[in-house]
Amino acid sequence: MKTNKLWGWLWVGLGVLYFTLPLLATLEFSLRAQKGQLSLLAYQRVFQDPEFTRTLSFSLLMGVLTIVASLALIVPTAYWVRLRLPKLRPVVEFITLMPFVIPAIVLVFGLIRVYSGGPIPLTNTQMGTNLLLVAAYVVLALPYMYRSVDAGLTAIDVRTLTEAAQSLGAGWPTILLRVIFPNLRAALLSGAFLTLAIVIGEFTIASFLVGINAFGPYMSLIGQNKTYESSALAIISFALTWLFMGLLQFVGRGARGQSQVMGAR
């Protein structure tokens, strides 16, 4: 038992080392912008760059729009499938897993082929391009959102709640907005934070659709010519990931852990 524990600490230690070493190196590097002393100069420069604020708020906005759109799309669907069309369930589930089979780079390739020109030329306007970006993010978030919502619906008695609301005279909008949504709050929030964590620094899709309007491509641009600032950005981006995942853990306690696969690599 004693040696077992020793090995345990060794492996955990190795894992922690792999996790922290690159962060330490980045942090140390980001503090060296001023010759000969440690300083926060790189961070100051980043925060003073108007592009930083602009791209980060753009990406945050896209993240929020993605969350709203995917909730509006997925909650009624998952609810309705459970209540009225259980036979469709495998089909819907299959569709929500499709993004795992289609890598982000392939998705954006296909989207550009279909929507730059043709009958629906979305990429011709700023508005249309942003719409396409949000649609692509809804696709990326689909597996996580659907799973979150579906797990939430499993935990509540959808049928009884619906019938109770109906017998009190509620219509469908009231049932969805005032009965189902509030009961799913924890599940929806955890799906939402995971979506934010995916979308904020997303590079692959954003770089082809909106270029340096978005935070991911902005970081990449900085990386090409400003060494210290890029380390500072990596630390900031890490802090954001930590924030969203922390919030996710906080709201999702009790629910099974969520993880992300095949998102914005």
Partner: protein
């Protein structure tokens, strides 16, 4: 993939609405899921279909198999080969490392907070990828990175003189491992927790040694979960683009990088071949996902999580 998906087939929902409803009512029920299907058609199905059709078209729009044949030319084949090698290597190495770390956190008798901390770390690290991850590794193992410099000045090992480069196979693999092994920890921990204590006790009562328990009980039960998790890691690395691009500046010949270059400008000088490249990725992903689901069904025989 959420770890919930690894656990059990989702229950089949509530009993279907029993009373036979008039046909008219039924058609209304379909309307409820129409937005979802329209969305899936527009933004999942149409793009895939467009790439699929494009893979079998020549520049004049005629049917051809030349694009598919083009996938087997040496330069394209080598792109697939290096992508697959990196994905397999990081899936196996990250899978094993992640397994040992998860095992240490769950089964080696460490305090509970170690396990919880490990899960939080893993959740964050598995989501820390793309551009900032590349920056972090440049600051660590780049030419002037902290570890490179420390190794050179303190230990006397010059990584770059020894042929190492962050911008090559090994460098990229080390970088991918940063999100691969935490993902393994997240996926495999529920399976490790599902190993019941009574199985071990039963084996010990029958006189099994620790090694025999693992050889004949523990590993056979865990094997489908382990392999399934590694397939997920494979797919995770296989589709990666942002990390590789920002680390190597596009100098490494991965399929995703090639597709990216093709979107920016027709570098292959053949749109159809670009489509076929994407189709090839989807086919490989589809095969690995099918393998994953087959393994998952096997692991569910023993695991009731």
């Amino acid at each position: 993939m959420t770890s919930a998906s690894l656990q059990r087939p989702l229950d089949q929902g509530d009993a279907p609405a029993r009373l036979a409803r008039p046909a008219r009512r039924f058609s209304w029920a379909w309307l409820g899921v129409a937005p979802f299907f329209i969305f899936a058609f527009l933004f999942l199905f149409l793009p895939s279909l467009s790439l699929f059709i494009g893979s079998f078209q020549d520049p004049q729009g005629q049917f051809t198999l030349a694009n598919i044949a083009g996938l087997f030319t040496p330069s394209i084949r080598s792109a697939y080969w290096i992508t697959i090698r990196i994905s397999v290597f990081t899936a196996v190495a990250g899978g094993l490392f992640g397994f040992f770390v998860a095992y240490a956190g769950v089964l080696s008798g460490l305090p509970r907070w170690v396990r919880d901390g490990l899960m939080t770390f893993s959740g964050v690290a598995s989501n820390f990828a793309g551009v900032p991850l590349a920056f972090a590794f440049i600051a660590t193992l780049g030419r002037l990175g902290m570890v490179t410099v420390l190794l050179k000045e303190v230990v006397g090992i010059d990584l770059y003189a020894g042929g190492f480069s962050l911008y090559s196979f090994w460098g990229l693999s080390l970088t991918y491992l940063y999100f691969q092994f935490p993902l393994m920890v997240l996926i495999i921990t529920p399976a490790l927790e599902g190993l019941r204590r009574d199985w071990r006790e039963a084996a010990e009562n029958l006189g099994a040694t620790g090694w025999q328990y693992w050889r004949y009980v523990g590993l056979p039960i865990l094997l489908p979960s382990l392999l399934g998790a590694m397939i997920l890691l494979f797919g995770n690395a296989f589709g990666a683009y942002a990390t590789a691009l920002s680390l190597t500046g596009g100098l490494i010949n991965l399929v995703t990088i090639l597709i990216g270059a093709q979107i920016k400008g027709d570098v292959l000088h053949n749109v159809g071949l670009g489509n076929a490249l994407a189709l090839g990725m989807v086919v490989i992903m589809a095969i690995s996902m099918a393998g994953y689901y087959a393994l998952r069904r096997r692991s569910e025989r023993w695991m009731r999580l």
